[in-house]
């Protein structure tokens, strides 16, 4: 009797559950299928989304007063030429990006025809703290950058500069300020080399 019981019990004790593959095959299969599906979605929708982003940037020709339309610089998706009704160049819209408090911050900067004055800025994308850091997308912070000289040396008021930072959002405000500085300096450098040619 006992021997029979032992024999009957042994298989139950020594029987192993399915191994790693036996347990994980569903998760692995799903992962591969989902990955392929998402790649297909990205392939189809990626260009459309990029077009949306481009249109958004082009529509910011309004940062430059007297401009009525915008057009990308030849082969440069970071700069938009702002044109008036007669297709004359009246200014530029330059994209700059920097690392904010939370994630990347992208800013569009309006410049006059000679890149000597900043006519205004528009925050294209940010993931700063809602209610605090995200105030960089609104007035009165934006007004800091309207009609000021493009000297590339802007500084927040806490450090003795002219840009009034958003209360409790110094890092976000500094990010925008330094991003503007960097983008303006780079663009001015590029513009001077262009003019020489």
């Amino acid at each position: 009797m006992t021997e029979e019981e032992n024999v009957r019990q042994e298989p139950r004790e020594t029987r192993k559950g399915p191994g790693f593959l036996g347990q994980a095959w569903l998760v692995l299969t799903l992962s591969i299928c989902f990955g392929a599906g998402l790649a297909a979605v990205q392939a189809k929708l990626g260009p459309i989304i990029q077009k949306n982003k481009d249109n958004e940037m082009l529509s910011q020709y309004t940062l430059v007063p007297t401009a009525v339309k915008g057009r990308f610089l030849e082969g440069n998706k970071d700069v938009v030429e702002a044109l008036d009704a007669g297709d004359k160049l009246v200014g530029y819209v330059v994209k700059g990006s920097g690392v904010g408090f939370a994630d990347k911050v992208e800013v569009l900067i309006g410049l006059d025809g000679r890149a000597e004055t900043i006519t205004g800025i528009f925050v294209l994308s940010q993931k700063e703290t809602p209610g605090l850091g995200d105030k960089i997308t609104r007035e009165p912070f934006l007004a800091n950058f309207r009609g000021i000289p493009a000297d590339g040396n802007l500084e927040v008021d806490k450090k003795g500069g002219t840009i009034v930072a958003v209360t409790s959002a110094t890092v976000s405000s500094e990010t925008v300020t330094y991003t503007v500085n960097r983008a303006v300096r780079e663009f001015q450098k590029w513009l001077s080399t262009e003019k020489k040619e």
């Binding site: 347990q23 994980a24 569903l26 998760v27 799903l30 992962s31 989902f34 599906g37 998402l38 979605v41 990205q42 929708l45 459309i48 989304i49 949306n52 982003k53 958004e56 994308s125 993931k127 209610g131």
Partner: protein, 209 residues
């Protein structure tokens, strides 16, 4: 065998009011408070959540026989994350401005407890018909909940409904309604109202017996 499972039609009807995700189950509170400042964003969120809920529930229902107990949550989350990504990309492609307005809240649908709850309660236990009925009912209930709060907040906060002027221009607009405190206030008041009405109904029903 176990007790009778609800039919697809019962699942559908339960989801709209009796088991309303917002007013009864109190799930998905984050989008409820965050995106209901206007009808447009509320309905977009409802639509995206509906898409994810239907697809996830159907998929889980189809593969329910293959689910391992200790890996099922992982499978739910994997599926939900994939469908949310598809919804997010589709919104960015075809409704770009709304996508920017909703911001991080579309990806946050992944952690909306409503969806994983329905997968666990219905999708993993019943066939595709019941799963579909459940998903449709819960989506409708979610849309109803979001819509009721958004209507309140948009009309009182700006005098608009879906962006159209509903109250006279003279309406000052209670700005607090559009801000987070307004969300909490509205949700609390409407939740209290729903509880009050259903308590009255229950008392009347018992009195009738």
């Amino acid at each position: 065998m176990a007790q009778e499972q609800p039919t697809p039609l019962e699942r559908f009807i339960q989801g709209i009011l009796p088991e309303n995700p917002i007013y009864r189950q109190l799930l998905g509170m984050c989008p409820t408070l965050a995106v209901t400042s206007g009808m447009g964003s509320a309905m977009t969120m409802a639509g995206a959540t509906a898409f994810v809920l239907i697809c996830a529930n159907l998929l889980v229902s189809i593969i329910r026989g293959l689910l391992q107990p200790h890996l099922r949550i992982l499978v739910y989350t994997l599926s939900i994350a994939t469908f949310v990504t598809i919804a997010d990309r589709a919104l960015a492609a075809y409704m770009y401005d709304m996508s920017k307005q909703l911001g991080p809240y579309i990806p946050l649908i992944i952690v909306n407890c409503l969806i994983i709850c329905r997968c666990e309660v219905c999708g993993s236990k019943q066939g595709p018909a019941a799963a579909l009925g459940d998903a449709l009912g819960q989506s409708l209930g979610f849309a109803l909940g979001l819509g009721s709060i958004a209507a309140f907040r948009e009309i009182l906060g700006e005098g608009l409904f879906f962006g159209f002027q509903t109250l006279p221009e003279a309406w000052p607009g209670w700005k607090i309604m559009i801000m987070p405190p307004g969300a909490f206030l509205t949700l609390g008041l409407l939740l209290g109202l729903v509880n009050h009405v259903s308590a009255r109904r229950k008392a009347a029903g018992e009195a009738g017996n």
